[in-house]
Point group: C2
Chain length 291, copies 2
Amino acid sequence: MPYYIYVLDREYRLLGVVSFRELFMGPAEAIVQEIMQSEVISVAEDQDQETVAAVIAQHDLLAVPVVDQEGRMKGIVTVDDVIDVVREEATEDIQKLAGMTALEMPYLRTGFLPLFKQRIGWLIVLFLGEMLTATAIGYYEQEIARAVVLALFVPLIISSGGNSGSQASTLMVRALALGEVRLRDWWRVFRRECLTGATMGAVLGCVGLIRILVWQGLFHTYGAHYVRVGLTVAMSLTGVVLWGTLAGSMLPFVLQRFGCDPASASAPFVATLVDVTGLVIYFSVANVVLL
Amino acid sequence: MPYYIYVLDREYRLLGVVSFRELFMGPAEAIVQEIMQSEVISVAEDQDQETVAAVIAQHDLLAVPVVDQEGRMKGIVTVDDVIDVVREEATEDIQKLAGMTALEMPYLRTGFLPLFKQRIGWLIVLFLGEMLTATAIGYYEQEIARAVVLALFVPLIISSGGNSGSQASTLMVRALALGEVRLRDWWRVFRRECLTGATMGAVLGCVGLIRILVWQGLFHTYGAHYVRVGLTVAMSLTGVVLWGTLAGSMLPFVLQRFGCDPASASAPFVATLVDVTGLVIYFSVANVVLL
C-alpha cells in the first residue's frame, strides 16, 4: 500500500512529496509542483536500520524515501517495517545484555539444540573469565587461613560491584542505542558516574558497616577485631562499587569506539570483569586494615 | 494528520473504514458504503498499550480505532504513537532487567539526584538480600577453616548460577512481553529448562573439572585431595546451574501470575536469589564428597 506520492525528475532525483490526502483535498486544477512539499526527509542507502527507525519515529512519518549519493530515489522504508525493526532490535539487545547470543526465532519455536548452543557459548566464556577469581583468591589463601571471616564477605563484595556495574552498562547501552548519548559524551558520562558510583559505594559501605556492628552486638559473630572487619568491608564496598560503576559505564563506549556492539557489555560480562578486580580491592584493603 | 476515514452510524457505532487512497482512486459517483471496508480491526478502550501496539504491528495498520463495549468509536491510536510505545516499553524493560527503576527522562537530561535515587534503591535491596550469603557462609566457617581451598571456588560457583539464571529469566521476560510465551506454557517451559539447565550444568562441570586437573598437573595448587576438590566443584556446578536456570525461568511466570511485572525478575535479582542457594548446594556437596 502506497503512503505518499514522490515526485522525481528524469534522473530519478527526489523533488518533492505529496500525500494522498493533499492530492484529494487540493484544488482540482492545481499541478503537482504547486501542492507538493519540496523539503523531503530522506535517508541514505547505507544507513543502518536503527537510524532509519529513529528518523521515522522522530518525524512521525509513514514512510521515508531512500536515496543514493546523487540524490536518486532507490526505494522506501515504511512505518510498519520500522515497528518490527524496533521490536527486533530491542529483543536482540535484551538477549545480548543477558549474556547470550540473540535468538533468531521465538523461544517456543527454537529447538533444544539451537537454544542450548546460543546460551552455552557465553556461559563458557564467562566461566573461563570467572575462573580467574579462583586464581585471584588463591593468592590470598594465607590471608583467608589467618582470618576465615574474610571469606564470609566475598560474595557480598563482588556482587555489589557486579550489580552497580551492570546497572551502569545497561544504562549506557540503551542510551547509546537510542542516540541519547553519543561517543563524544564519554567524558561527561565518566564524571557523572564517578560521582554516582562513589556516592552509591559510600551508602552501601555504611549499610554494610551497620550490618556488621548490629550482628556483632546480637550474635558476637565476627570476633575481637569486628571494627576492623567492618571497616574493611565498608571501604572495599566503596571502592568496588565505584570501580564497577566506572567499568560498566565506560565499557559500552570502548566497544562502540572499536566497532563492536555496545550491547555485548552484558550484565554477566561486566560482573565477571568486575569480580576479579573486586577481589583484589577487597583483599588489598584487608591486608592494610585487618591483617 | 488523518490516516483513514471511519464511517459511523448515528450512535457512533463503527460501520466501516475508507483510506484516502481508496477515496481518491474509487469511481467518482460511488457512495461511501460501496467503497468502504466493513471488516474493521479495532481495539477496546481498556486494552493496555502493549496489546494495541501488537495489533497495529501485526496487521500493518497506520491507525486503529478504539471502541467501547457497545462498539461506539471513541478515538484512534496511530502508528507513530505505537513506535514510541514500543521503544519506551523496551527501554523500561531493559532498565528493570538491569535492576533499577526505569528512568523517566533520557540519561543526560536526568539530574544527579533522580539518577542516584533510581539506582540506589534496588542496589540496597539486592545488597540486603546478598547479605544472606555472609550468613550462609558463616554456617560453613569451620569447613572453610579445615579446607581453605573451598573458598577459592565460591565466586565461580555462584556466578555460574547467577549467569545461567539471568539468561533464563531474561529469555522468559522478553518472550512473555512479546506474547511468544503465555502463562499457561509454564510447564512446557519448565521441562525444556530442566533439560537445558542440566546439560549446561554438566558441560560447565566438565570444564571446571578439567581446569582443576590441569592446574593441579601444572602448579600442584589443590593439595592431595585434588580429585575430590574437582568432583565437588563439578557436581556443585551441575546442581547450581540447573537450579539457577529453573529459578530464573520460573520467576517471571510467578511474578506475572501474581500481577507483578515479570521484568522485575532482573539479572541481579535472580543472581542474588540464586547465590544463597548456590552456596548451600556447594557446601553440602563439599560436606559429602570432600570433608
